[in-house]
């Protein structure tokens, strides 16, 4: 592997820079994916049949907590990448761990929320509105959950192999993914919860 020392480690080989570009293209595909989910949700938002509507269901408390956790974790993954560029392996691992713990807490609150909804009789089967709500939130939540496993995998590799062009590249791509999930969440927070609560 030819390593270009003038570039940051995550970009230092041709393969690495291709991977980062490829991941941006993949995120390009994630945009229509979530756009479709939002469109479906907006079509369905008033079709709650005999089930509850958004304003009856949503509570601001847990949602604010989720928002706080996810937005902060986007900051800490940024710190992890910053530490990586300085070669501070330990700090990098700590920031990644904080990121993943906050991500885990986010998923935990979301699962609890789902249980609450189902307990209140608002299930996937109840109405078109709820089906689309669950699939939109669920797809985002599944992304976060997948990110948790992915992040753990990268941390193990960092711990065993140190900061190399390969692990730096993986961490950087993971951070792009994590920021993207944050952006999607901002849309969910604004157009699903805040709008639904009005």
């Amino acid at each position: 592997m030819k390593i270009d020392a003038s570039k940051p480690l995550e970009y230092s080989t041709e393969e690495n820079s291709n991977k980062i570009f490829g991941f941006w293209v993949f995120l390009g595909a994630e945009i229509p994916l979530f756009a479709t989910l939002f469109t479906v949700y907006f079509v369905m938002v008033n079709r709650f049949a005999s089930g509850p509507s958004g304003s009856e269901l949503f509570e601001i408390g847990p949602v604010l907590m989720e928002t706080f956790l996810l937005l902060s974790s986007s900051f800490t993954i940024g710190l992890a990448v910053h530490a990586m560029r300085h070669g501070y392996k330990k700090a990098m691992m700590v920031f990644m761990a904080i990121t993943l713990v906050m991500g885990l807490a986010f998923v935990g609150i979301e699962i609890d929320e789902f249980f609450t909804y189902v307990h209140e009789g608002a299930t996937l089967q109840t109405s078109g509105f709820l089906s689309s709500l669950f699939i939109l939130l669920g797809t985002h939540g599944l992304h976060v959950s997948f990110g948790l496993l992915w992040g753990i995998g990268i941390m193990i590799q960092l711990w065993k192999r140190g900061i190399t062009p390969a692990t730096a590249n993986k961490t950087f791509i993971f951070s792009l993914f994590w920021h993207f999930l944050d952006v999607v969440w901002i849309f969910i927070f604004s157009f699903v919860y805040l709008k639904g609560l009005m």
Partner: protein, 649 residues
């Protein structure tokens, strides 16, 4: 467990198919063991990450599917050949037309094109491989396993039967209670993920791995068409992913997306399906335009006329392809304003397409034309595709469409577009690039025999359908009375279908015959080609180019030959980095196949196990330390010497 749900009842044809599948499988297994080919199969094919071999596997799978879809077509034509036929019953006919459409579009046309682009694109841009070789293998195995999942449906559990567009509420559990549409949602999902990965892979390959000097506007036209196609894939396939997921949730978990009660909305499916489905049409047709552009330029010995307008017309087509989806359901009550909008955008596509047609004609003008088999398909494409296009404009008029909608006129139209637009193109491309991959040409005499059978029979099969449609015969009609008067034209159509089948059999026989008897090609450039793929040896060495070529003009090899612009300015060989083979993509595909199968039959615990299995394989792929290997300089020089066949290095 209820074994009964795996059974398909009552059709002697299907029992016959079961027995033949079982015998063929046993035959393959015994043959592999007897000839001790298991190791060869695993090392050379199942674990390969070489774009050329992956491309060949795509094309082989596509040819297989061509015959599967072709048999479906023959059964349909036979069933409707005469009034009151008793060959298939209504249910079986529904299953046959559904799988015919699905297989021909998604498991024949698209993989055939992806196969050609796998083989050719890295060569055309002077690259040693695609950007992500392992992901490329993942793409292939996901496509292949998806295709197999759909194919076993007709012997295990029952095929999908709600049409290839699977409109709700017909495709819902209530009206299609068999597992057929579960297969639909999962098989398409799995192969669709593979296609999306291909899209990402090739965008990066084309944008980042071109030979030095090859600016975007110096790329060969096929490369341009593939780049635009992959952009369409990346934007269109996520919509399908979501639509299929919602379909699966509706059918397996009772969600209410497309139901008629509880706030569901059946039209949502129609919209989502065609938001993906219409661009899909251009995913198969734009690369075909690229293939024809290459062939016309090569066999007219002229530069492609209007290169820039060709590129821009493809860009415009790709944009418009996302703005026309509702023309698929003018008659479903969406109002005059909406219909008008989609009518105008649809007709607008005729403009850039017309530009391309005229560019091809101007390229031919005053060219020194040689009538080889690929050129014949190209020349036949132009008038036949124009008929398809003009009837398309007829259908695009919303008000007139109320007359044609869902008749055989529509069936004739899209076969007149898709067969010349995709099938002739892949056959032409197959003949054109065959000597590059295998080192010998296909027999021209047999090729032309097949060509005439296919071209004439195609028109005999599909032209009568325009009249049948105008007479009022609806599509997907499984039988009709004598008084309807549909009999004679349908019989003509059946005769044409037999002719088409004969043509395709000759085509395959040609591959067999040529493999045995055609003289090996020693020139590496049998057609006097223009682009970089002809600048390396045939068959192609593992590393494609021993020395990376430098590009200064559009048709780099042609300029090298005509104006003596050197392609290879470096003269020193160096060691070459290559990715190592890996079995993980294949294993991933197999696990996906099982996940799909278990979900089809709602077997939750095995499905969860398979789902975890996928995560495990992904983790193994992530932890893989393999950085590939280097081919040493001596080996490069030795290979080059051998392939030069006596010429000096």
């Amino acid at each position: 467990m209820d074994l009964d749900k795996f059974k398909v009842h009552g059709e002697p044809l299907i029992y016959g198919a079961m027995i033949s599948i079982a015998l063929a499988t046993i035959g393959i297994l015994v043959g592999l063991t007897y000839f001790k080919k298991w190791g060869y199969l695993w090392r050379e094919w199942l674990t390969t990450v070489d774009h050329k071999k992956i491309g060949i596997m795509y094309i082989l799978a596509a040819l297989l599917m061509l015959f599967r879809g072709g048999v479906d077509a023959m059964m349909m034509r036979l069933q409707t050949a005469a009034p009151e036929m008793k060959f298939l019953d209504a249910q079986h006919y529904n299953e046959v037309f559904t799988t015919h459409g699905l297989i021909m579009i998604l498991f024949m046309a698209m993989p055939f094109i992806i196969g050609l682009m796998n083989v050719i694109i890295p060569l055309q841009i002077g690259a040693r491989d695609v950007a992500f070789p392992r992901l490329n293998a993942v793409s292939f195995w996901l496509f292949f396993m998806g295709a197999m999942l759909l194919n076993i449906s007709f012997v295990i559990g029952g095929s999908p039967d709600a049409g290839w567009s699977a409109y709700f509420p017909l495709a819902s559990l209530e009206f299609s209670p068999t597992v057929g549409n579960n297969y639909y949602s999962l098989a398409l999902q799995i192969s669709g993920i593979g296609t999306l990965i291909t899209g990402v892979n090739f965008i990066v390959t084309i944008l980042k791995m071109r030979a030095p000097g090859m600016t975007l506007m110096k790329m060969p036209m096929f490369t341009w068409s593939v780049l635009i196609t992959n952009v369409i894939i990346v934007f269109a396939f996520p919509v399908l992913t979501i639509a299929l997921a919602m379909m699966m949730f509706d059918r397996l978990f009772g969600s209410q997306f497309f139901t008629m009660a509880n706030g569901g909305m059946d039209m949502l499916w129609a919209n989502l399906f065609w938001v993906w489905g219409h661009p899909e049409v251009y995913i198969v047709i734009l690369p075909a335009f690229g293939i024809y552009s290459e062939i016309i330029a090569t066999f007219s010995k002229k530069n492609l006329y209007g290169y820039t307008s060709m590129v821009f017309s493809m860009l415009i087509i790709s944009l418009l392809s996302f703005l026309v989806w509702a023309h698929h359901f003018y008659t479903m009550g969406q109002g005059a304003m909406v219909n008008s909008f989609f009518s105008i955008t649809t007709m607008a596509i005729a403009v850039p397409t017309g530009v391309k047609i005229f560019n091809w004609l101007f390229t031919l003008r005053k060219g020194r034309i040689t009538f080889t088999t690929p050129m014949l398909y190209t020349l036949a494409f132009i008038p036949i595709f124009t008929i398809g296009g003009v009837t398309g404009v007829m259908l695009a008029m919303a008000s007139a469409d109320y007359q044609y909608h869902n008749t055989m006129f529509l069936v004739a139209h899209f076969h007149y577009v898709l067969i010349p637009g995709a099938v002739f193109a892949v056959i032409a491309g197959f003949h054109y690039w065959f000597p590059k991959v295998f080192g010998f040409r296909l027999n021209e005499r047999l090729g032309k025999h097949a060509f005439w059978w296919i071209i004439i029979s195609f028109n005999v099969t599909f032209f009568p359908m325009f009249f049948l449609g105008l007479m009022g015969m609806t599509r997907r009609l499984y039988t009709y009375s004598k008084e309807s008067g549909f009999g004679p034209l349908n019989m003509l159509s059946f005769v044409g279908a037999v002719g088409l089948a004969i043509g395709f059999v000759i085509l395959v026989y040609n591959i067999y015959w040529s493999t045995r008897y055609m003289p090996r090609d020693t020139t590496n450039d049998p057609w006097d080609g223009r682009t970089l793929e002809w600048a390396t040896h045939s068959p192609i060495p593992l590393y494609n180019f021993a020395i990376v070529p430098k590009v200064e003009t559009r048709d780099a090899l042609w300029s090298a030959k005509q104006e003596n612009i050197p392609l290879y300015t470096d003269t020193k060989y160096t060691k070459i980095h290559m990715p190592s083979n890996t079995g993980k993509p294949f294993i991933l595909g197999v696990v996906f196949f099982f996940l799909g199968f278990f979900l089809v039959f709602s077997m939750w615990i095995p499905a969860i196990v398979a789902g975890i299995g996928i995560l495990v394989v992904l983790a193994f792929m992530s932890f893989d330390k393999d950085q590939g290997y280097y081919i040493p300089v001596e080996e490069v020089i030795a290979t080059e010497k051998k392939l030069m066949r006596g010429e000096t290095v």
